[in-house]
């Protein structure tokens, strides 16, 4: 038992180490990027693709959720299906949020995104089946949380001073960047997961791993809720 607790704590430390050292800069599009975007007028496909991809690769909350989603997906077909649903969800709200000028509070949206990690980890631990007797439709859940993640992306993009000129092209470019970043990050996660799955310990540690994922989800949620009360 002490050994299990020790490995739980170690894994948690590694994950938090990954999440928080750069948290001040990682989540908001950084000041220099903002300054750069300020100077852009008109269509700028490549810069926005780059910013979108950068946001996704350094956006640990999106990544934690995706790790939860593909944790028990073995077939490429399923991975593609679920990731497409997620993509569909966040593309809709990213476009609608920016074009419709919907300003959501980024702390609250990010808190919901953090909660999506908790939800998915609990789902992976069979929590819903145990307590509710059934598992809520996983495809719908991924789609719905995808919608929230898109609002999160929209609030980040709105922090930049976007010129009206070329707006649609630029948002679509940002979205394409997000997808590229997502594919890059997913590939890395999948390689790690596939390697781990060949080990006998995978299923034994699956429960503990999802408990750690859930802890990270709670951390992100609490961090954002605290931010809402303390900073805005």
């Amino acid at each position: 038992m002490p050994k299990r607790i020790a490995s739980f704590l170690m894994l948690l430390a590694v994950l938090i180490g990954l999440v928080f050292p750069q948290s001040a800069g990682a989540h908001n599009v950084s000041q220099q990027d903002a300054s750069y975007v300020n100077s852009i007028k008109g269509v700028a496909v490549a810069p926005f693709i780059y910013l979108g991809a950068k946001h996704m690769v350094t956006g640990y909350d999106h990544l934690a959720f995706l790790v939860g989603v593909i944790f028990f997906l073995y077939r490429l077909k399923d991975i593609i299906l679920y990731v497409s649903l997620f993509t569909l969800g966040h593309s809709v709200t990213l476009l609608a949020g920016v074009l419709g000028n919907i300003h959501a509070n980024s702390y609250l949206v990010d808190a919901i995104i953090g909660f999506s990690v908790v939800y998915k980890a609990f789902d992976n631990m069979d929590g819903f089946k145990r307590f509710l007797g059934f598992e809520p439709n996983t495809k719908i859940a991924v789609l719905v949380f995808g919608l929230f993640h898109g609002f999160g992306l929209a609030t980040k993009l709105q922090e930049l001073d976007l010129a009206k000129n070329g707006l649609v092209t630029n948002i679509v470019s940002f979205n394409i960047g997000v997808e590229i970043g997502q594919v890059l990050a997913l590939t890395a996660v999948l390689i790690a997961l596939s390697f781990w799955r060949t080990r006998s310990g995978f299923l034994r540690h699956a429960f503990a791993t999802n408990a750690v994922l859930m802890t990270v989800g709670f951390l992100l949620t609490g961090y954002q809720i605290a931010g809402y009360y303390l900073e805005s």
Partner: protein
Amino acid sequence: MTTSEQNEQKIEAPSKSALAKATGIALLVALLLLFTVILPAEYGFDPLKTGAVLKVTGISQTPEVKRGAAPTPAPGKTGVYRAEPAIYKVESEDFTLTPGEGMEMKYHMQKGAEMVYGWKADGKLTYEFHGEPDQKPNKDYFESYDLDDKAGKNASYGSFTAPTTGIHGWFWQNKSKKDVQFHLTVAGFFDSAKMIAGGSPEEMTIEDAK
């Protein structure tokens, strides 16, 4: 893959108590870390005073320019006197930023030159006070002196001594939903000033103080 297929690959479903325990531990660990380390470090909110003990309070926050200890005056003297070249300038101007808009004001100063500044706005502005040396190690190099890119401030006052010869100044952004007007006053020893607002830099003509 249907859910039942997925589950066949798992060993066995955990019991309710194991689940409740795991969820409880996850929540507790998260709360513990939040209140002892993360909130102090990220927001300077330190209810348990653990952040102070661990010296993490405010780590990721606005590096309020540390008030360097005032130079110790020589014995028998009460202050510091420094002569400056005769380029004393005073700029005093109003600006308006629409929601989401950002702008920069930059001053070219020699190393060691000083300025005294103040700006006051009718809303919150996020800002960074930073500078780029003329001789910089790479294209994107800059030094940050004061930063508030989260909550923003209504005003800021201070004095500044240029650590390097180069351009020094502010980037402000209005992240609120309404227009913010602000007034900036800068007095000091700078050779030139430029404004960057949504495009290419614009040289500002600032008269020497009469």
